[in-house]
Symmetry: C2
C-alpha cells in the first residue's frame, strides 16, 4: 500500500492510523510481573518499561522484539553560519564510516544485536558507501537563516520516506526501532525546530552540540533567531516548521516514528536531534507520544525541554552527546531485558516459592 500512494495521502493516512497505547495490555503485563518470583515492583523501572512496551504493542505478551537502529543523514545549509565544530564534508565521511562498521553506532548496534540501517536523504555530494541506502531528496537544505530550508513538498517527501521505511522494517520482522542521526549543523536545525514547536527562546534550546566554543554558541543562537524570524510566516503547523527550519533527516526521522507508531512498533529515541524529530511527529499525531521510549538524557538543553514536553523519563544518564543513535543503541539491551523478564521469569506458583505478597 505504502509504495503506491502519493506522499501527501500516505502521510494523512498514517497520521490517522496512529493510535494511543493500550492501558489494559499494560495492566495485564503488570499483573503477570506481579506473579513472578520477586517482590512486587522490585525491578523498578524495568517493570514499567515492560508494561510500556506491552501497551504500545497492545498485548500483555509482546515476547522478544527484533531491534533495528536506523541512522538517517542529511546536510544543512545553516552550516554556512559557522555553527558547528566540524566542516560539512564530515557528514558524508561519517555516514560512510557508519556503514563501513567503524563508527560508534556501528559498534554499538553489533553489540546490541540490532540490525543497522543507514539512509542518505540529502547529504551534500554522492553517498560514498554501498551500505548507505540512497533516498536523497536534495543535496542538503538551503540556509534556514536566510529563508525556508526546503519546500513543504520536500518535507512531505522526507516524512513519506520514513513512513515507507517503517513498513519495510515491519515486513522484515523488526519489532523495535531505535532512531539515529548524522548531519553537520543538525543541532542548530533541531534547536530552531524545537524553539518554534515549544514556543521558547533560542537561547534556552541551543547547546554546544559536538563541541563549539562560546563564540560558536553565540553564532548558533543568532542563526536560530534569524531562521525563526525570516520564516515566521511559515511556522504555523509542524509540517511547515519541519520544512522552513527543520531538516531532511529530521523530517524523515519524524516519518519513521509515525510509521512505527502506526504499526505499534516501539520507537527508542536517542539524543536531541531524534527527540526534536519525535516532537514534530507528536505534534503531527499526538498519540505517537505513547510509542516513544527515551534512551538517555543528553547534556543538550533542548533535549531536556523536549523530554519534559512529551512526558518521557530517560533510561540512561551517561553524559552522551554523540548522536548517531549511540545512546539509543545502549538502551536496547534494557528493553530486551525488560521483555525477557516478562516472557521468561517463573511465577511463584510454578517455582514453588512461598509468596507473601510483599
Amino acid at each position: 500500500m505504502a509504495e503506491s500512494l502519493g506522499d501527501e495521502t500516505l502521510l494523512r493516512r498514517t497520521l490517522a492510523a496512529v493510535q494511543p497505547a493500550d492501558p489494559e495490555a499494560a495492566a495485564a503485563a503488570q499483573t503477570a510481573l506481579d506473579a513472578k518470583t520477586k517482590p512486587r515492583g522490585s525491578l523498578g523501572r524495568l517493570e514499567a518499561l515492560a508494561c510500556r512496551v506491552a501497551a504500545i504493542r497492545a498485548t500483555s505478551v509482546p515476547g522478544r522484539l527484533a531491534p533495528a537502529i536506523v541512522v538517517i543523514a542529511a546536510d544543512h545549509g545553516i552550516a554556512a553560519e559557522r555553527v558547528s565544530a566540524y566542516p560539512q564534508e564530515v557528514t558524508g565521511q561519517m555516514l560512510a564510516t557508519i556503514a563501513a562498521g567503524g563508527a560508534a553506532v556501528s559498534v554499538l548496534s553489533r553489540q546490541a544485536g540490532a540490525r543497522l540501517v543507514v539512509l542518505d536523504v540529502g547529504v551534500r555530494g554522492a553517498s560514498s558507501h554501498p551500505g548507505v541506502v540512497d533516498r536523497r531528496i536534495r543535496s542538503g537544505t538551503a540556509n534556514a537563516a536566510r529563508g525556508p530550508a526546503m519546500s513543504r513538498a520536500e518535507a512531505e517527501r522526507a516524512l513519506a520516506i520514513g513512513i515507507r521505511l517503517a513498513a519495510e522494517l515491519v515486513s522484515h520482522g523488526i519489532g523495535l526501532v531505535a532512531l539515529g542521526d548524522m548531519g553537520i549543523a543538525n543541532t542548530t536545525a533541531a534547536s530552531a525546530l524545537t524553539a518554534t514547536l515549544l514556543g521558547v527562546d533560542a537561547s534556552l534550546v541551543c547547546g554546544r552540540g559536538t563541541g563549539i566554543d562560546d563564540a560558536g554558541l553565540e553564532r548558533k543562537v543568532d542563526a536560530v533567531r534569524r531562521a525563526l524570524a525570516v520564516n515566521a510566516h511559515a511556522l504555523d503547523d509542524p509540517l511547515e516548521a519541519l520544512a522552513a527550519v527543520g531538516g531532511l533527516e529530521l523530517a524523515a526521522l519524524a516519518g519513521l516514528a509515525l510509521g512505527c507508531a502506526a504499526h505499534r512498533v516501539p520507537v527508542v529515541i536517542d539524543g536531541f536531534i531524534t527527540s526534536a524529530a519525535a516532537l514534530a511527529a507528536v505534534r503531527l499525531a499526538p498519540p505517537c507520544a505513547d510509542a516513544l521510549i527515551a534512551a538517555h538524557r543528553s547534556p543538550e538543553p533542548g533535549h531536556r525541554l523536549i523530554l519534559e514536553a512529551i512526558g518521557l523519563e530517560p533510561l540512561l544518564d551517561l553524559g552522551l552527546r554523540l548522536g548517531e543513535g549511540s545512546g539509543a543503541a545502549l538502551a536496547l539491551p534494557l528493553v530486551g531485558a525488560a521483555l525477557a523478564v516478562l516472557s521468561d521469569m517463573a511465577t511463584f506458583d510454578a517455582a514453588g516459592v512461598t509468596d507473601t505478597g510483599a
Copy 2:
C-alpha cells in the same frame, strides 16, 4: 596454589596481592578513544568506564571480557527477629529457582550472555537443585542480635571460598565478574556490617529491603542496634565484623571481590548486599576499591552511603531493589559496549574523516 593453602594463609596472600589500578593504562585508553571517529569525550561515562576497565586490567587494550554472574546464598539467624517480609525457607526455594533458570537473575544473565554460577555457602536445609554448587560452611548463621553470627574461622573459610572461586573463574577464561546475593534477612546483616564499617547509626543504613512495613523497619533498626551492642567487643577489624554481624554469603562475596581484584578482574557490584560485601573487601585491602564498578543505585539508604564511602558513581538508576545480581546483570552490556568501543571503533585517520580536534 589456592587449593593447597590454608584459609588464613590464602587470605593473607590475597590481601597482599591486590594492587591499585594502573593510571597509565587508563590514560593510554583515553588517548586511543580520542583518536576514534567522534568528538572528544562525546561518549561521556562510557569512555570513563572503558578507561576504568583498562586501569583495572593494567592494559590499554583489554579487549572483550567474558562475563560471569556469581550468586552466593546463605541464611541468617537474625531472621528470627522478624526483619523480612519473607520466611527463611524462601532462601533455598529462590536459590533453586535461580539455578533452574526462572529467577530474574537467571533471565538477565542469559540476556547479558553471562555465565551464571550459583553457590550455597550456608542455606538452611539441603541445597535443592543440582545446579547449585555446594560450599556449605554451616546451616545459616546464628542470630547476631544475641551473639556472634559465626566464628572468625568460619568467616575466613567463607572468604577463602570466594577467593578460590575467583581463581577458578579466571582459569575458565572469565574476565569480568558480577556479584549477586540471596539470603532472607541479609539486608539486616548488611545494615549491621555497614553501620559498623562506616561508623554510622543503624537508622541511617536500614531500609525496607524486599518490602517490610513501618513496624518491620523498626524491628530491623532495633535488631541491628542490638547486634552491634552485643558484639561491640568484636568489631575492631573488618574480618571480625564480618564474623560477628555479617553473613556467610557476605564474607564469601567479599572474598570473591578480593580474589578478582588480585587477578585484575573487574568486579561489578549490584545493590546493597554486594556493596556491603565489597566495602568489607575494601577495608581488608584498600586497593580493591579500584577494581569495583557500581552497576546501579538502589533505594536502600545504606547503599548510597557505601557508594559514597568507596567513591563509586553507579551506571544505572532504575529503582531496582531485588538483589540477586539483577542490577549487575543489567550493567554488564554497558561494560561490554564500553570495551567494544575501545576495541572496534575506527580512528579518524583510518576512516578518512576530517578531525578538527573538537
